[in-house]
């Protein structure tokens, strides 16, 4: 791993901007090497593209898909433009459909508790960092509606549940409908 970084630095010194593919278990070593070589504090962030470890046991199709998912980040780093969502060494954003599945998993407990009270929370789409969903209010277990929280507050709760697993989510918009 550190040899890869040293090779990259050797190429940089010859005027060749270099991006490195590295498995994510080596983040600590990458940062230590960055410090040892006297590289800028943002060198790792700007020049390394992380892959999920391990890669040695993956099929070619899986490896191709890993690169496909990161090619925009590779391009951006070759051009010195760090891609949004890849800063600070975070994993690149998941595909939208995968992200939506992850978001639904994150709110599963909340959705289940709302369902007990007669409301159905569904997440419909994730576009440009905005997670959109619907709260369908059916026959509630309370007459005055106080058994479920107001929709804006619910949106904030969804955001709080989803953001730890999907940092790319910038906002949550819930549409309220009565059935």
């Amino acid at each position: 791993m550190s040899c890869c970084m040293r090779d990259a630095v050797a190429l940089e010194a010859r005027g060749v901007p270099t991006v490195i593919l590295v498995n994510d278990v080596f983040k600590a070593i990458a940062h230590a090497t960055q410090a040892l070589l006297g590289l800028p504090d943002d060198y790792v962030e700007n020049n390394i593209v992380w892959l999920p470890h391990p890669t040695s046991n993956k099929t070619k199709d899986v490896l191709d898909a890993l690169v496909d998912d990161r090619i925009d980040e590779i391009r951006a780093k070759l051009l010195g433009r760090v891609a949004a969502g890849s800063a600070n060494g975070r994993a690149p954003a998941a595909k939208p459909e995968e992200a939506l599945v992850a978001a639904r998993t994150a709110i599963a407990g909340l959705a289940a508790s709302l369902q007990v009270d007669g409301a159905h929370l569904e997440l419909d789409a994730l576009d440009d960092g905005v997670l959109r969903g619907t709260i369908r209010i059916g026959e509630l277990t309370c007459e005055d509606g106080s058994c479920i929280m107001p929709t804006p507050q619910l949106a904030r709760m969804v955001e709080a549940l989803v953001k730890p697993v999907l940092p790319q989510v910038q906002a949550v918009e819930l549409t309220e409908s009565k059935t």
């Binding site: 090779d7 005027g15 270099t18 892959l51 191709d64």
Partner: protein, 91 residues
């Protein structure tokens, strides 16, 4: 009897390395693809090179004899005529 104790911590002995100026576009650039020999590095790098070729970059493949050693000077020398580079696998 006396002992000499060496400090194993290492340290920085050279000035900060210079980083290369980034290009504005990938079109028509020669891209060095340096495979360090780790398992599957060739697959990952070949895919990246294939996709970057679609942007107009021209891959120049090379490899080094051991992933646990820095690339020999002659390898760096061969690739230094490229405009950009990608290497791996740190894994």
């Amino acid at each position: 009897m006396s002992f000499s104790v060496h400090d194993p911590r290492g340290g920085r002995t050279a000035s900060a390395p210079l980083l290369a100026k980034r290009p504005r576009t990938l079109a028509n650039l020669r891209i060095a693809v340096l495979d360090n020999g780790k398992e599957q590095a060739d697959v990952l790098l070949a895919r990246a090179a294939h996709l970057l070729k679609e942007d107009g970059a021209q891959p120049q493949f090379d490899h080094k004899p051991s992933f646990s050693r820095i690339a020999p000077a002659e390898v760096i020398e061969r690739l230094a005529n490229c405009d950009i580079a990608i290497t791996g696998l740190g894994g």
